[in-house]
Subunit: 148 residues, 12 copies
């Protein structure tokens, strides 16, 4: 049966394409999500995408993934660096997760170098912009294959 | 008149019983809440229980307790360690509160040793699993008695 | 055309007037907001006021201000000290913002001395209680004038 | 057979009732110990109480508990924050222990937020004054029951 | 009787208008002081302005304000971040003081985020350039009014 | 013309397949390198692979890449966390680089959370074992495409 | 009635005169104590001197001073820097205390710059060798006089 | 020949007697200096007293003491905690110095626990108010006697 | 004349053989001491062994070694990491000392990486279990030989 | 036209030659200044030398150099490590500056390793005693030449 | 069959005997190695000795020991404190290792108190000069015996 | 006899002239070395220049300088901030050394403010680009002259 993956985008990612286009490009979040879904289709996986600016909603959605999704690709935005609740949610969900960032957070301000969710994720991909979503889908498939 | 206590459970506590049952047991949150209500009934106190994964909702509910509840038993989960907003909400509510944790947070990762809400709570109980809720009710009653 | 300013109040500010009146006075948030609106009218600016205890809602509202408001006056309460998401939201909104606090946060506990949003705000006003809102409106008008 | 519990009180707890009675009340340590013994009797457990101001004596007594007591309730006072020897003693004794404090140490000076013994205790109860001893007995019984 | 306010400018503020005019503008310190005096006149308060690059002179002048001035507006420049002597002087003077900065110090280097004088000032205004002096006068008047 | 990529493996990566096979699998470094070369061939890029345990040799090889390679995929192993020399070498080489790790370094000891080379790399991929090399090649191609 | 003062010497002070005589001189502890008693006699105060290497014994003796001594002169030696128990004992004793050191601890290793007992002592005298005991007696008399 | 001692008082000590008389008493600096001179006369030493709020003036005066004074009693006030220049001046002067404080600085804010001048002073006396000056004269005489 | 060495064992070492035998083996402290005495006899040195859980007793015994023992082998257990008093006692004793630990303390928790006594010991041996005592005797003999 | 350079010496440098001659030699500040002037003459540059122990005076003199001097050679002594005001003054002066120290400050106490002025100086020369002044003049000339 | 041990000496140990002979003695590294080989012969073990100043060479040699040596005695010199690569190499080699230092590194500068290799070594011997090599051979034999 | 100096350049300095020419200029390392040799010839000193990217090679070369060179000018590049081995090598070589940097490292990232080699060098010169080599030769000659 086809794998099913959940792509979660956290705070401020809804502004993609509008915000600082000279840096982030003019691709919007719906366009990025469409590209991810298309890439999933090509690989034979179902992709579901959601975005919220609320930490609690991310926790809720991660819980929902328990037993219903095969993997989570989580771009938690700024909550990456401050949310222990997301870390605990990922433990509770028992679904493999990949940490994703558009920018190379390790090359930015010091407070973006800390990640609570890294401690419970399979791996991390950052710095490749929209292409990171495609890479994360491939990485998750490799992970699921290695585990099976 | 009978005392009325509010038991608030924060992020990820809705997963109790499902998550890592070999550690946390198979008792679910509704069962824990039922035990607390029953213990309250035996002691002649009304117990109201709520859970949310949203920090803002915890703040809202603590505000509502002002003038309507005699005490708050707060298991703020991961927000314990990061939320100054909860600390400020407890000050504003002017209702005595007890900090509760299922696990012994002081024996876990360093980032779980910090508690903003401790600074404005009567006391703390941690490490006794579901039994902690019963102990917290007894502790709150002893506190209210000592104040009266 | 008249300037339009958004005044956002964060967690626990809905308790103004109820909480510790010997310190904060008995003026309520609606009264403070009415004073701000009146001061704006006198200066020929439209003032819109909102309050929430939810970090995510503040992020949502800051996004909405993009292209619709000329300035944001943000009293983020306790989220000031912990929220990188608000900082990122202000960057994305591309609207000038002023950081406001009722109390002199720099004279209080150490954890209130840190502000993520300060890094992306025009300036900061703190310690003047309700009068701070009027000062912040004047400060924003001076800022807009200097930029035009 | 009836459980047997050892209650150990560390430095300065012999001054209970004399010291700052407006804060700690006028109940003396012998009275608190008598209450604990009485509560134990009601629950069908033998309670033995000892107090010392000497770190080494606490270590000696914890060793003695090995194989002779079912649980230790340890109010190590100021040694809580500085004694690695007590931590090691508890490991060597292989008897479940509960950390107890009269005051809410987490709401006091920073140097009282650190506990070496927490790392090897079942849980912690603090902030409930003399009532804490009764709560700790109940907590230990719940712990022993859960382990059996 | 009319209020009397002392505006003190510390190290390097004599260079205003000369230094980095593309950033700080071409308004000189005498011009800023004249604007402050004029604004004071409009509000019915006497304004006295002084500047020095010597920490000791600032201490001397703060002492002189005791019993002779109703308020101090202090832009202590770089001494803000290093001078405990200024903090002690403000305590000794027993005159309400407002901390003022031309730039938003909280958005600059880390060593400019610390302020010893903040601990003893009514409030802080920063980031609004020369307009900050006018805002500070208004803020002081609001403070004096609230205290009377 | 076909892109040419340099894959550099640092200290201890020659032990791959021998070391802790239950964790890292039995795939050896030559096998991993062969997979990378094959993946490159499929994508139409030339892949050159080298390994050394000497920090200085890595610096030498990075210098050689200047003007001769289109991208560097650098798994610097333990030198990631301690070598400023590698960071400076990457700046001097002026070739885009991707930081690669077999394990999720952010989930391991604290001293593996720091990366000097991250500050000058396009992005980072970690936690996906041998599959990371394939992902890194794809990521580099996406990067080169975005820059062209 | 004549004042009665307790002089307590902590760990290693029994070695005075034997240890490093080129630094500490050849005066032994009994000789220092005799000088203190003689100085007390001249001033009309009773001086009692004790020494121990046991932290717990110091705590015991400080407790005994409650209600029986007018002041404590405490040279706690190395326990100064590590003992919270001594600090708590002084609070419980409710007898004014002076902190004394033979050497200038602030000019030695960093770990000798911290003093827990300083927080609850009237003042501190250090660096004057055996003469410090005489100075401390005079300082205590001045303190008692100022309080009466 | 009679010894000659220099008593230097630093920033804010000119406010003694005026500032917070309920804490510091109503004795003014001239009165304290007169008491010191009188005590010196009784002991057969010449006492010269100076006060300034300028760090540079303290440095100048310490230099002047070289070869002209037998000892310096230095109450450097807030400069104690921040001035390396005073430390270097004392080294250059090659005159024995005693560090003096009216209050017990070790029982106050953390930033008052650091003393640069302690590293080069004979000893420290703090916490005894005006009586500290008399004690410091006696301590200096004991020091000079021990050195001769 | 034969050398005479004192072997001191600190807190919790009396539990050797009882505690966690799967880790520490079933050799008890008396057996270890017998082995040390026997090894000493073979090498022609007298070995005296003592154990205590009291920091003060260790200080007392180190003092006694002054002038009566040729060397001290000190396994101070947990006091290694917290006791400045032991460090000072070793300085006062003026007897060469070797620091000994059963386990490799540097491979355990961070708080076991600090040693106050290391600063005044000849050297350190750790991680070799009971064999460490024999090694320490040999090391002390080599040290004494090198000094003679 | 000939370049004009300002050599500023800060606190305690007036004691050169008197202070610790076995370390600093017997050359006095006037002699060092004469050597600098002579070296300048040989190179065709005017050299002006000033010394003060007052931080504020250094700030004043740096301001005066704006537009009147081609370069500043600043030996700020102890103010190097604590003065943000000097850093700001150098920015305001817009004259290239070289940081100079007689001793190798990086080989001394930790608090001498920090330099606020380094952030705004062209470079630093330290450790070469009086010869450093000559080197600094040469370095400034090389700097001015490279900029022209 | 006879055990085979590898003794590795890192940076600067080739200078033994030349460097600071008043401290380290005049025994050269070849002499120390000869003593170690002789001691091995007496104990029936083969000893191989190597020295290098290159971190990478140490890594290479540790790898070679895998499956060919029974134990490694590693004096990594200054790389002890900075090399994570050596730590990883020891893990990969799966050969028991002992950390050795000539001097008591714990009694020297703070940066010599950290050891990355300690985390993966059996134990540590330091402070006994050349005699440490003999002790380390004995310690390794005891270790191998305990494991067999 | 003519002095003989060794100029050592560490990692990445071989890229001089190629790398970021707009910052570092187009002068290559061979050209800089030729300038140094020429300047040496003018001053009557022999100059030998070497460069390597290997930390171990720098250690080797510093050892070789023992007894064969009169001084070392060491631009250790990035190893300055991380290499304790170089510090130890300089101690072992017993040849006076000067620390040199092209850029003003104290005005760059924090991790470039630390220098292990500074602790054992005569002095430091930084920020003057290629001219620094000439200055360093002059500084070394002044140092050698002062020592002779």
């Amino acid at each position: 049966m086809a794998h099913s993956l959940l792509i979660l985008n956290g705070p401020n990612l809804n502004m993609l394409g509008l915000r600082q286009p000279e840096i982030y490009g003019t691709t919007t979040l719906p366009e990025v999500e469409a590209m991810a879904v298309a890439h999933g289709a090509k690989k034979g996986v179902n992709i579901e995408c959601r975005q919220t600016n609320h930490e609690g909603a991310l926790v809720d959605w991660i819980h929902e993934a328990r037993g219903t999704q095969d993997g989570i690709i989580l771009n938690a935005g700024a909550y990456t660096h401050t949310s222990i609740a997301l870390m605990d949610a990922l433990i509770a969900a028992e679904v493999p997760a990949i940490e994703l960032h558009l920018s190379n957070v390790h090359a930015r301000e010091d407070f973006r170098h800390t990640s609570y969710i890294a401690k419970v994720c399979v791996g991390q991909i950052c710095g490749f912009g929209a292409a990171g979503y495609t890479l994360a889908i491939d990485a998750m498939l490799a992970t699921l294959e290695a585990q099976s």
